[in-house]
Subunit: 297 residues, 2 copies
């Protein structure tokens, strides 16, 4: 039987990278490491060794894994827990490996009529956010920007609903493989061009038409190439906000995630007249894993 009363390891294991934390009852015990051994970089059959590698670095301790490690491309496939769901539901659905020494946290799913959605990894941050914010609040809208942005609704500590926009992935596809590749090499900033992109989307522009126009504007000298990345990002984040705000009330939005992304989304929200509060996703992840440990100890 594993001992969950002391220090443990928590891993946010995504598609392209993983981040592992050594945690104890007081918080982060010091060691954190991040590398590019996301599930895409681990060969089938190589996960046992990839897990042992973490223990070799941080200690032979109990371990909680979240994210794509529990998907059909990961180590062990752990199902999706249907929403609404709270932290107790999540803990009940943890898949245990080696007795109770390693736990793999499930993802969440939502079905509404013919619409369906799934998440993996963000659920730990969402439940952690509820703890950071002092627990049970009225309905709250959370935006978690990223490769697949998640807009989630929390109510009294439960995730009641969520929806995804593949904002970051579409931007990467355009920058790496599309006719826009040559004009999307610049850094995205929350500048006037970014906000013009957001405004263009909210004015009713059609994304696939407006994106092509970015290249045409540069070709015709209507836009500088260095402005194109921020404008195109503004178009995509504008769509993201349109998808999320359709389900949001008037309350301030919590923007949860990596600070370089939450800044962009907060600027876009402000441009739409919406208040927001940024929370670092790493803090929320640690808080969520602590809450899980406390419940299973």
């Amino acid at each position: 039987m594993a001992d969950w009363s002391g220090p443990f390891i928590a891993v946010d294991w995504g598609t392209t990278n993983r981040r592992a934390y050594l945690l104890d009852a007081k918080g982060v015990a010091g060691d954190v490491f991040e590398d590019d051994l996301g599930v895409k970089a681990v060969a089938s059959g190589g996960f046992e060794r990839a897990v042992q590698d973490i223990a070799a670095r941080l200690g032979e301790l109990p371990m909680l894994l979240a994210g794509m490690i529990g998907s059909d491309h990961g180590w062990r496939q752990v199902g999706y827990l249907p929403c609404p769901a709270d932290l107790d539901d999540l803990i009940d659905a943890i898949a245990w490996v080696e007795g109770r020494r390693i736990g793999i946290v499930p993802g969440l799913s939502v079905v509404q009529g013919t619409r369906g959605d799934v998440m993996r990894g963000e659920e730990v941050q969402l439940f952690g956010l509820a703890r950071l914010a002092g627990g049970d609040r009225a309905r709250q809208t959370v935006c978690h920007p990223g490769t697949h942005t998640k807009w989630a609704w929390l109510e009294a500590g439960r995730v009641t609903d969520f929806r995804t926009a593949m904002t970051g992935e579409v931007y990467s596809l355009l920058r790496e493989h599309s006719v826009l590749a040559s004009v999307l090499g610049h850094e995205v900033k929350a500048d006037e061009h970014f906000l013009a992109g957001v405004a263009t989307t909210f004015a009713g522009a059609v994304l696939t038409a407006e994106l092509f126009s970015v290249r045409a504007r540069v070709l015709l000298s209507l836009m500088e190439a260095r402005e194109a990345s921020s404008f195109a990002s503004g178009l995509l984040i504008g769509c993201d906000l349109r998808a999320g705000l359709a389900g949001a009330g008037e309350d301030p939005i919590v923007v949860l995630g990596r600070p370089e992304l939450t800044r962009l989304f907060a600027a876009a929200l402000e441009h739409c007249g919406r208040e927001s509060r940024q929370v670092d996703g790493a803090d929320a992840f640690v808080a969520g894993m602590h809450a899980i440990r406390k419940a299973i100890a």
Copy 2:
């Protein structure tokens, strides 16, 4: 001085392939060939030989080239002719090589305020369509579906305006490089799933959110994988129609291009209650090149 009174060669030279026609005063003189020597497949400095190769196959004749061959990735960069433009304007802007033996047709551009758009290759089909349809008509909306769908407006033989939606390219990016790759391998058909995708877009769905949901629906068994390609294509073609119909009147739309694509777009238009007429793009290209030859002979 080249003799433009007899047979000549017309080439539709795109990014990924080229199609060359041997034409005479009566029409297509017989030989047509298509290969994958699009401008992307020809090394810089290799265009002279790629052009000679056509003459070796079809004869040492005068030649008209249209499409990406005139772009900065092609043989000789030929500018964009600003709209509104008619066939005479296009002919005046042809770039001549080897005296007047080889002509490269320019593309078209449009600027409206800060919006800009460009096309290369479709302009020959558009002017050809005007000839096929019996010449000068009132305002007509033309949809040319493809990698970059062009919606164009013709008035009395002039192209007055156009806009692009990067429908085909976004679909290819998703099928080849995205998280949806595993569910987009099936043939797209104008079936109920395709029409459901079109309807979902017209009901106000946000593209980047609805696309992710396609994968989630398959994961959650709300949709069969074999239905996903047609549904996702319907979402994208729905966006395409939203962009184009915003500038269209109530008249029937001419859908011009490859028959396998015009069929899909005609079905989507019908689902939106819009009449359309399909015209084969190859016929329009030949008609356009004939009209150019006649004017320069």
